[in-house]
Assembly symmetry: C2
Homo-oligomer: 166 residues x 2
Amino acid sequence: MRPSINTIQTKRIIEALERAGYQATPNRRLVADLVASTNGHFTAADLLERGRREQVKMGRATIFRALDLLTSLRVVERLDLPSGAHAYVVCEPDKHHHHLVCSGCGRSEDVADGELGALVDEIGRRHGYEIQSHRLELFGTCPVCTAASESRSATGDASAEQGGPA
Amino acid sequence: MRPSINTIQTKRIIEALERAGYQATPNRRLVADLVASTNGHFTAADLLERGRREQVKMGRATIFRALDLLTSLRVVERLDLPSGAHAYVVCEPDKHHHHLVCSGCGRSEDVADGELGALVDEIGRRHGYEIQSHRLELFGTCPVCTAASESRSATGDASAEQGGPA
DNA sequence: ATGGTATTGATACTCGGTCTCATCGGTGAG
DNA sequence: CTCACCGATGAGACCGAGTATCAATACCAT
């Protein structure tokens, strides 16, 4: 009934939860688990469905609440796909960063801010704005998907890619 | 019944429409007008309401269709506010650019890509991704709002700002 | 005038997300 | 141990943005 894969990632999330003074309830543990075992972006609906598949049924609201919580702890972040759809991704809570998202499999990687900060400052200065926040989103094809699509186009195979959001 | 402020901006939009082979129908002209006379970001619902205020009532779907059209012509772009809400902004259709949005009044300015392109390439290279697209969104306070908020905090006045989305 | 295509409006629907509210459960005080 | 309390939960209503469907209409060319 309760999966608890308990990867390091899951633990990290649960600890973050407790550190912030929230109860690590079974539901939240499950969400942490699901979220941690996802290597790409996901939606609330994904989690809900995966939860049900694990024989646990949570209210929709609970998922959203958990996700809000994790978002506020910066353990997950919301991003806006090129299609305009929203999705969530797990990420490192500490340093300011951006996301590089594979449009093939949905995998997402944190990208350090790097020189972007300076660039942003420069833009703000040039326009006379006081910049409060910025967001950079990068979309492309990850190495695995690139390789897959190359070998596929060579062999005619049409499956594979990466594990994908799972 | 039909406002037709017909600024240069409005004309530009209508021409873009015709150039692309679409009819410049009254509805579309109105949308162009509304969009052009907005100096910040707006939503479909905003346009609808403003249209009605001008005594013209269009179907909701028509607005969305017009907006889709303008988006495909790159005359407007959709952006994602920090709140997660979607909004549209007018912009220059030609060069690749990003948006700098005032969180006070909603005004938005196009920002040239500048050195960002190189930075993006570098990130792609570093992660082994083939970058297909990127999006940078900057949020801050525009000079007018900054000034307004400064004088306000000095005088205790609480109105003003910029024209705001209108 | 006539047919065909583009446009439109109404309406139903989907989807992500929020709100409300009654219930449930763990924890701490007594 | 019991009780009260408060946080967490689920169900379901609700909401706003956007899409889909479909019939009615406007426009254009012939």
